[in-house]
Symmetry: D2
Subunit: 411 residues, 4 copies
């Protein structure tokens, strides 16, 4: 559970924004379990101003070709201090600090002919000339050789010295099996760096047939391409969630991507807000929580309204996120021409969870048979968003708005 | 849970064999929950003697083109009594009676120009000339028209009058979406026939994208082509089970096919026995039970040895079959060059199940971390095949023979 | 070059229609090289009245299960005389006689349990229960066994005795490689029957990768599904022609299907005429002739108008059909937003042919560079449809109506 | 018809080798029509020594980022004179001069931040960061924008000033449709550069569905990946030739790649010679000539033996290359268990060509029916390799060694 700068500031986030959001999280959200503050892509690009990348922009690196924060955007990083001051600050708030990296080594370091730290190699010895990212110009992929391994060790050494707790590595998750060797190099470098660092893989969709590899190397992996505030993307997540749900477990989680809630796309206009309806946001939080997707806030928290604060501080929902086990879809069917989807999960505390979604275009009712959940005795049912409880036997009458959801704890 | 004649007698089973197995089940297995006695394919073919089908064999039908038991093989069916006497006998033992049918209408009825019972239609009005089964010569598919629906109603009327409790319909499960209309006609005819009849669909592999349709129309559906006593087929079932596990629920179960245990292929030689090793049979029973596959015995029960009786009367395993919920694979990985697979499930009574499989070619050990099961407190672990219990914390040391399994109840 | 009854009368053609068209051909077209008179599908179905097939209609067969003409439609076939009287009549006009057959053996013969002529086999020994035609209910495919070969020998013996010169075998051309054995059996039976019989394979599209097999077994094979009077089908033929053109040679020709010209679909209404414009018909005749497709007239010749007669009696075009060698497309490109296609061929008499097509939606001009035809010297150019000649050097100015064509002989 | 340095010297050819081969060609081969002398890849890489490319090697460019010859390998290019002195020398011999280029702009020019000649643009404005070659590290693809077009104009201006007559552009032929815009930019730049320059596209296999585009933009295009002296590659060429044969015409030719004959791979060892047998070389020359593939000698001509000289100076074969029209395969079939392939073509002088190939593993005989070539009259048949003529009617008896060929002119 944390916050990531991409949805609200793209490649253009600055230190003051990060600090303000960290302050806010510490003060208002830490008690609910929110913990990670993550700086997304191109913190090393002095001229980044949007969600786009500048053509062949000159990047900040140290003398070993390792990317370092652009001091015009992250003033505390001046004089080669890197992210250490900012990470220290975040840690002082009782939070954790994360960064985004691209798979690979800067192309610029190759043409600058820079050495790899602590070795006799040059960047060109580690770079693979024909391994590139299709949507970002910064890096070459890294060879599975001594130079390549030394490069990955050198950047992890730097990140550990800064106090990084979380790495979101991009251009790698859906690039398997081609880039499998590079994933293994990265995971090995993290395990050897001397600091506990969470590894998050991006972008999706991840490959289902590589599920075991993701579990063994990473803590979370994106099951989708970039997710934004569009119902079609949210609806499509149900199918992805269904395929991936059985792969969530201790320390490894399929990742449905950040929550585009509250003020997003702030680099375009301060007036931008999520286009999701309130019901769609409830659907999103319900699905993410029952399937145990990592929750990363995408909006600028400092200007959250009450509804949005309610979304991320509902104790029943956050408890479901922690205690849900073995979540999966029960059925998906049309009832009186409206499509409903039912999910269920066991609770680690006993009892079970159920989530019902109306994915149709109008408000609709559904008589939910408890036998569909294999409940054959009288139970107490608590709806988590409303907090209301009632006794039930055989049947649960539900009415849901279009694109809305209900989440039940049943015992 | 039941018995089916295919694995031991193919298309050649006779009434005395069915009666003897029903007697045996009633006496020795009923108390463990075994209940269904099912006569498999071509009970209407007087000359059937093997697992093969005779070229354009003349079949027994009534005057409405409905297939009826060959009286030379099922003497009690003489004089048009059909399976009623045999079903009555099975019921008298406190068991249930099932039959196999092929999708469609006999081709022979079309060329004999027979009427459809209770209608002005002829068989030719219901038959689709270009819908055939690729491995059996008996039937044409049925049109989705008034004649077709009348034909399905007419056969269900007959089966209900016989007292049939279970229908295994063949040439339909993997034929979707082409034959979807015929599945819907059949399911409708069953729902209207006035008797509770379980519907089992064959052969597999079923189509994952049609999971919701199987759940809505049938009680069980084959997730595999015919399963026999070959380790490669058993090993392949793990992947199928993984894909289908989330679709098991109240009244609808992915079906991993019959259990080829004990004396099978008896029509070829009375000496034939399953080629599975004992450990492979334990692996099979463990996987089928945790994933909640229907259990249908394939061998001739009357000559089961003690080991085989033990397989089908282990109370812990059968309890797991009943109480397992939300089963799924946890991981599949090589440990010291031996592949292990771990499954887990919640128990409806609280606590959880775990099944560990050694799919490698040699005996091997595995230190099973309880955190992989998200168990972080001291627990009591009962191994169900041996019945032994012990306290455990953090780690469970396991040693498994090649192709062997252990099943744990943890609380 | 011939006439086929399908386009004008479907499955419902009768003897008087065949005789009238044969008379017309003998009198008006024979001198131009038109020669074959072919009775298309279901001449053995007494109740055939359209282009559709009746459900499980009872067919006429002899006592060996061989299909024979329905005497109500072909009176001269009464008393078991088969097509001999009609073939004799066609021969008496100096023409040749052909029939359509379906791959396989009548399903009805299997259920009637009929013997195969001259053998101890029954129809059921030759039939393959799972080989059917998807669009016609009459036949089962034939096994590649002794019974199957005897069946094919028996029907060829019958057809040879009738005096058949041409067999169009259906449900076989695009069914390779699955039905390859049956094609070889048929070709062998023809070669052994003691009479020269042209073999035409249908329906298309034929498989390009089987070109060598078609050449070795048949005289012509359909490169397209049924062709009708629709510009989209005609336009699509250019691509098929391009792929197949190099496979035309002595005695083996890719077949672009019948010419739907003049009165067609006469079983629906006597007023029906081809929907092709005159220019489209010229395009069709030009393409078929330069690529050397067999020409089979589809319309009722007895009521051809002058334009249609002109189409099939243009001596320059028919000479191109006979003398064209190595035809192929030269280019296909947009000139001032109109697409033109240029084909060329050598002439067996020296000189070369060129055909230019305007496939655009409006009249348009094209300056045809003779160097595109690798002509670098002054030449005489004769346009075959108009019969006009002129001297040319370097360039040929052409103006073509929409969907129109010009055909040139250049020397 | 020409010579190319790749097969014998890879990326490591030097000026003296080019001059020696040009001298040889002028003296011994020019009279037979051999004309082009082409310097293949990486003439701008000072350290190139083999068929491999060095990791991120520093390349020679002018101040506008245009690649120029490495003066250590091409001494006459010193002082910015480029290939002009070498081209002048080749021209002085009555021959033509060609070079190899890679699609795109040097990556190095982007990171050196060089301007595009005559514009305000930088290399980075023309480069596409995500368009690379998979097997060579030198270039980025070029954007279809003003900067990109200016870059292509700038290099063509340079090449025209050098006197280049032939450009082999690599990494483009099989990269369609993705790189179609770049092909169009290049073709346009050539047409505007003020000099006649032949455009050859590499590597193959070209895309058949783009045949019209190749014809409109280029003079020759590779129908195969790199071709070397291996029978399997030669055998595979028959199928490619069959597909492409109809697309050979005035000024545009499918290219079966260079002829690996005589001394090849000379950068590895001066002792290396082609591994093709003599018969295989005859097969190659026969197929290339009848299908009209461009002929580019791959071996070092200065050390050709008599057999090899005979291969490239056979007047009958070279005449077939010039006069063959509409070549295509006639058939490919097994005769007494040996596969033979027959090709034919019209001759621009009248008469026809035929080529017969024995692709089997042993010497074998074939009675070639002249009717297969649609020759029905007595003819004179000249075998071009032996120069012998004889009269023939109906049949031509041929005996061919394994992997051997005969080429006939028939009139």
């Amino acid at each position: 559970m944390g916050w990531n700068s991409w949805d609200c500031y793209g490649a253009a986030v600055t230190e003051d924004i990060v600090r303000a959001n960290a302050d806010f999280m510490a003060k208002h959200l830490k008690e609910y379990g929110w913990e990670y503050v993550v700086v997304d892509i191109q913190w090393y690009e002095p001229g980044a101003t949007s969600h786009e990348y500048r053509r062949f922009a000159r990047l900040e690196t140290d003398k070993f070709g390792r990317l370092i924060p652009a001091a015009n955007r992250f003033p505390s990083a001046a004089d080669g201090k890197g992210f250490k001051p900012l990470a220290d600050y975040v840690h002082s708030l009782g939070l954790k600090f994360g960064i985004h990296i691209m798979r690979g080594i800067p192309r610029q370091a190759v043409y600058d002919d820079l050495p790899i730290e602590g070795t006799k190699f040059k960047a060109g010895d580690a770079a693979r000339f024909n391994s590139i990212c299709y949507w970002n110009p910064d890096m070459y992929g890294v060879e599975d050789n001594e130079a390549g391994r030394a490069y990955y060790a050198s950047i992890l050494k730097l990140y550990a010295s800064w106090g990084v707790d979380f790495i979101k590595c991009d251009d790698i998750c859906r690039e398997l099996p081609r880039e499998e060797a590079e994933l293994l190099m990265l995971a090995f470098a993290i395990s050897e760096c001397g600091r506990d660092i969470v590894l998050s893989l991006s972008p999706g969709p991840a490959l289902l047939e590589k599920a075991e590899l993701y579990k063994e190397t990473a803590n979370m992996w994106r099951i989708t391409d970039d997710f934004w505030d569009d119902w079609r993307l949210l609806y499509a997540m149900f199918e992805r969630a269904e395929k991936w749900s059985i792969h969530a477990g201790a320390g490894h989680y399929p990742d449905a991507d950040m929550l585009p809630i509250g003020p997003i796309r702030q680099n375009e206009s301060k007036k931008n807000r999520t286009k999701f309806t309130k019901d769609e946001q409830i659907t999103m939080m319900t699905l993410w929580s029952i399937m145990r997707s990592p929750l990363m806030i995408g909006g600028d928290m400092t200007r959250f309204d009450d509804f949005t604060m309610g979304l991320v501080t509902n104790e029943g929902i956050l408890k479901m996120l922690r205690n849900s086990r073995h979540a999966h879809k029960v059925w998906q069917k049309n009832i009186d021409e409206t499509e409903f989807i039912l999910w269920t999960a066991a609770s680690a505390e006993g009892g079970l969870y159920a989530a019902l979604f109306n994915t149709g275009d109008a408000k609709a009712s559904c008589d939910l048979s408890l036998s569909d959940l294999e409940v054959y005795v009288p139970v107490t049912v608590t709806e988590l968003w409303s907090g209301t409880s009632k006794e039930a036997e055989n049947m649960l009458k539900c009415e849901l708005p279009s694109h809305g959801a209900a989440a039940f704890y049943i015992k």
